[in-house]
Amino acid sequence: MIVGIDLGTTNSAVALWRNDMAQLVPNALGDVLTPSAVSVDATGHVLVGQAARDRQATHPQDSVSSFKRYMGTQRTVRLHKREYSAEDLSALVLKSLKADVEAFAGEAVTDAVITVPAYFNDRQRKATRRAGELAGFNVRRLINEPTAAALAFGVHDRQDREPFLVFDLGGGTFDVSIVEMFDGIIEVRASAGDNVLGGDDFNQCLVALVRPQLQPAAALEGVAPDVLEAQLLAAAEQARRRLTDAAQTDFALVLNGVRVSAPVDAAAFEAAAEPLIDRLREPVLRSLRDSRIAVQSLSEIVLVGGATRMPVVRRAITRMFGRFPDTTVHPDHAVALGAAVQAGLIERNAGLDEIRLTDVCPFTLGVDTSERDRGGHFRHGLFSPIIDRNTAIPVSRVANYTTIADNQSFIEFGIYQGEAREVVSNVRLGSIKVPVPPRPAGHVSVDCRFSYDSSGLLEVDVTVGETGVTRNLVILDESDGPSDKEIAARRAELAKLKFHPREEAENVALLARARRAYEAHIGDDRARIGAMITDFEGALESQDGRIISQARVDLREGLDLIDRDRWL
């Protein structure tokens, strides 16, 4: 059985194709969304999900979230005496989802389809694939998030649709895709995006706006900077959500027992967020231009991702497109459901027999060349595109190059992905070297063929016309990627980590939530929460199942009365 997984910046989800429909799978706490957060407690147990997210408010040094931003980089974080890379952390989240599916379906699950932002570059995609392998999955395919949302949207009622635009603004990434459906063929016309634009950036914007006005200011001094940062961002997230429905709210947090707050109103926030809203334009424009579709001919705008709930974003979208966006699709669920549809397609489920999906490559692929400028000098390091962005994949294109010096002995092609004219600003995927016969400059003709297939595998073939010498390179592994043995070793390492048993997950999560609530309140409320925590811990020690479940209900209801903030 293949499952579809949405590995998001803020929240992750997993879904199956079953009974001719895509279904979301609940986790141990009964939620379909699992926050992408990891925390390590004092006993060395690793918490994943809601518990980790709550624990981040109380133990920020032992917790981490939004690590999707660091996929494809070498950045690590230190949790409780151990270093974790972004891949490791994603793997832990995926492991937790795997356990959830196996509990739900009652059978072992080995294969998965994982979603990535459409604008993830090659490095980031490989990192995601490795995270899946570390979690014990055989990653059958990586699918773009807006394409997945389009699948969920389209397969739902199987109608023919004129081109529609998927606007996916998640926690950390922004993607735009223009998709067309006809007779069961789902065709992506263009994709574009911004990998560093998402709800988290709006949080930071709000923090920057509010920070100078926080009262009492003295309370901010005594707190370590990274702890302060984490607390402020968490408070910003809450305040931002409240601003969705209210014109103004209090930005409040508790530091060292002191409640610090400042009022913030929606208008001021929107004015401060204007540069971020401006950044939404460029990917939309690029995808419209590349697909050669006018705004008026789009049939609808489909919103995906939690951040599209923000009024400022909704207003910007309405202004951009001259119409109201479509909200039938659940912005948080669509991507996982779409991934499940893709899983069903791969399995060739009977219900999906007629569906075919064709995607595009969102980045331009090419090599570095040198050109003569006006003064007759050579400028090196210029990008020569071979496969233009938003070409339908699979695709194979060939381009012709010559030598620049007399008696040159070889040509080395650097292979790059990106849109900048100078290759230093693009992502380097690899290089390939081919020997050439000694000739005057410009007399040797070399053909370079790029072949890009549906799963994002790039193959480069270089042929020298005169001698017939060929070289081939398959961009599978970058030079700094780990080998299979290393991956196996890391998987074993992760398997050694301690986790709470599944049955305990609810208790652990509830305790974490209670402790966060304790820190977030002061005075009488805090005292009351403290008392409830003590009662619950006592019930846990009794080890009596009925007492424990009763105590759980009590604590939850008590918290719901006092602590109205929720993450999901």
Binding site: R374, V395, S454
Partner: protein, 585 residues
């Protein structure tokens, strides 16, 4: 991908029904494995796109009807271009126009009054440049741009749109030359207000309108530079153009604006005292004294670097430097001092030699300056020139006689020999180069003298043309007719080469060929229809190909056949007809 192949791939008959095309594509796509058959998938996509395009255009018939070739017109005049002589300097050096100094906006950017190619104006009124989203905004624009526009042009308020105001400010007379005149302070203020109003309007529309407005503003600023200089920064900030610098898909106008802004930023940076190239900048800006021919430099490497950066990236900054000082810097590598030194040394040596000669005796023969010139006539040179006379002109004349009777020609040959000797630069042997020179000279002389000489030349050319045609040497035949010059004798059969040699010798050695003949000018001429008919018959080609050759095009083979036939026809014609034409062909 041809239309028939497209319909065949899709498996349907040509139709204008878009959904039928897409259904066919869907069926084909379902039947294939795209990863296994990558090229097939690409072909299928191309086929579908082409079919949809044809369906949208309404043209379904792929084959154009063949036209019957008409008969040659009788008595009609046909214009044919005269072959220009190929060698010689035409008077224009390639690339003397320094592109940096002209700095015209990039090609493809239309006149600001027109829109970018992918934009359609909402209204078709002439001079309408930007359709605004809401008529109510027109008056709002007028207020922000200021009533000055209305007052100055006496227009009704509805006409006072900010975009027109901006356009009028940047191009007061509506011509491209306006951009050389910078704006006054008052005009600049009004322009800023107009620009702000236009930007505000543009941002209020939907994203397509924003894109169109952005391109319009970029175009108008690019075309209006340097007059639009103060407006570049506000526009770039409003649209975020600087962030898009250096991407492959930036529009050329935005690129242009970015480059001008980058130049301005560089200038600001380099004028700061702590910039590493500041010293070089100050040096190059210092004005020179009149008549100054040398300058002192320090930190030469930094000056080199600065000039390199300016010339490569910011060409307009070069105008801010003192031109004379830059010229002095560029010239310093040529070291004119050196040649003076050699001349000085040469004079000293000559004086020494003559002094030694005078000391040695009154009849020193190798020491007087006059005999220096004669001594340069080396035996080697005489032998080579004699060789040329034999091989090219078929004459066994002695060198001295040749030098005496044909001084002009001898001077040319000996000068060329000396040039070759000193620089050793001839790619071909001296004999071959001289042969080519003499052949060309013969052709020009024959044309200049006219009469029997010209007739003899043309008859020779016809014989050569026929020989080359028989050999099927189309390239050489094409050259013969297109350049009007004689080919290398190595390409000809022996008897023809001998004939060519003999005719050349006859003319060049019998007629005084000073001064040198002029290059022939190009142009067109008319030939009567009878000749055309004879040409058609003689060449055996259809009329359209003959016409292509007449117009200066055509394949070498066609040129050979047509021109041989035409030359034969002209030479066979009556002298009255032949007369005016024989000079031109």
């Amino acid at each position: 991908m041809t239309p028939t192949a497209a319909w065949r791939l899709l498996g349907i008959d040509p139709t204008a029904d878009a959904s039928a095309i897409r259904r066919a594509y869907a069926a084909r796509l379902r039947a294939m494995d795209v990863d296994a058959d990558r090229d097939g998938f690409a072909d299928l996509r191309d086929a579908r796109d082409l079919a949809l395009q044809l369906a949208a255009e309404g043209t379904l018939d792929p084959e154009p009807a063949d036209e019957a070739a008409p008969a040659a017109p009788e008595g009609e005049q046909v214009a044919i271009p005269v072959p220009q002589t190929g060698f010689g300097w035409t008077g224009a050096l390639a690339g003397t126009g320094d592109p940096a100094l002209s700095l015209s906006p990039p090609d493809g950017a239309l006149h600001p009054a027109a829109l970018a190619p992918d934009v359609r104006p909402a209204a078709d009124a002439p001079g309408d440049v930007l359709p605004l989203p809401d008529p109510a905004d027109l008056l709002a624009c007028a207020d922000k741009a200021g009533g000055w526009y209305v007052a100055r042009h006496g227009l009704a308020a509805e006409e006072a749109r900010a975009d027109r105001a901006l356009h009028a400010l940047l191009f007061p007379r509506g011509e491209d030359d306006d951009r050389e005149q910078l704006m006054t302070a008052e005009e600049e203020e009004q322009a800023q207000a107009a620009l702000a109003a236009v930007i505000a309007d543009v941002r209020g529309g939907d994203i397509d309108q924003q894109a169109r407005g952005e391109i319009w503003i970029a175009d108008i600023l690019a075309h209006g530079w340097p007059r639009s200089d103060p407006l570049l920064a506000p526009a770039a900030d409003a649209f975020g153009w600087r962030a898009r610098a250096g991407l492959v898909d930036t529009p050329p106008a935005v690129d242009y604006v970015n480059q001008r802004l980058a130049a301005r930023d560089f200038r600001t940076a380099v004028e700061r005292k702590d910039h590493q190239l500041h010293g070089a900048w100050k040096q190059l800006r210092k004005p020179t004294r009149t008549g100054q021919s040398r300058a002192l430099w320090w930190e030469g490497r930094k000056i080199d670097e600065l000039l390199g950066i300016i010339r490569r990236d910011y060409p307009e900054l070069e105008q801010q430097l003192d031109w004379h000082r830059v010229a002095l810097w560029d010239a310093r590598g040529q070291k004119p001092i050196r040649s003076y030194t050699w001349i000085f040394i040469a004079i000293v040596v000559v004086q020494l030699l003559s002094a030694i000669g005078r000391m040695a005796g009154p009849s020193g023969d190798a020491s007087s300056p006059a005999s220096l010139a004669e001594a340069v006539d080396t035996p080697q040179m005489k032998a080579d020139i004699g060789d040329v006379l034999v091989k090219s002109l078929g004459s066994a004349m002695a060198y001295d006689e040749f030098a005496r009777d044909h001084g002009g020609l001898q001077r040319i040959l000996s000068t060329n020999w000396r040039m070759q000797d000193s620089s050793g630069n001839f790619t071909d042997s001296y004999a071959r180069v001289m042969d080519r020179l003499l052949r060309d000279r013969y052709v020009l002389m024959a044309h200049e003298l006219g009469g029997d000489h010209l007739l003899a030349l043309q008859r020779l050319r016809l014989k050569i043309g026929r020989a080359l045609r028989k050999d099927q040497n189309w390239a050489a035949c094409n050259d013969l007719y297109r350049t009007g010059l004689l080919p290398d004798p190595a390409l000809l059969p022996d008897d023809l080469a001998a004939l060519q040699r003999q005719q050349m010798g006859a003319l060049l050695l019998s007629v005084d060929t000073d001064p040198a003949p002029q290059n022939r000018k190009g142009g067109t001429y008319k030939i009567p229809g009878a000749i055309v008919q004879a040409t058609l018959d003689g060449s055996g080609l259809p009329l359209d190909r003959v016409q292509a050759v007449y117009q200066g095009g055509g394949e070498p083979r066609d040129v050979c056949l047509v021109d041989t036939a035409m030359l034969a026809a002209i030479l066979d014609a009556a002298p009255a007809v032949r007369g005016p034409l024989i000079d031109k062909i």
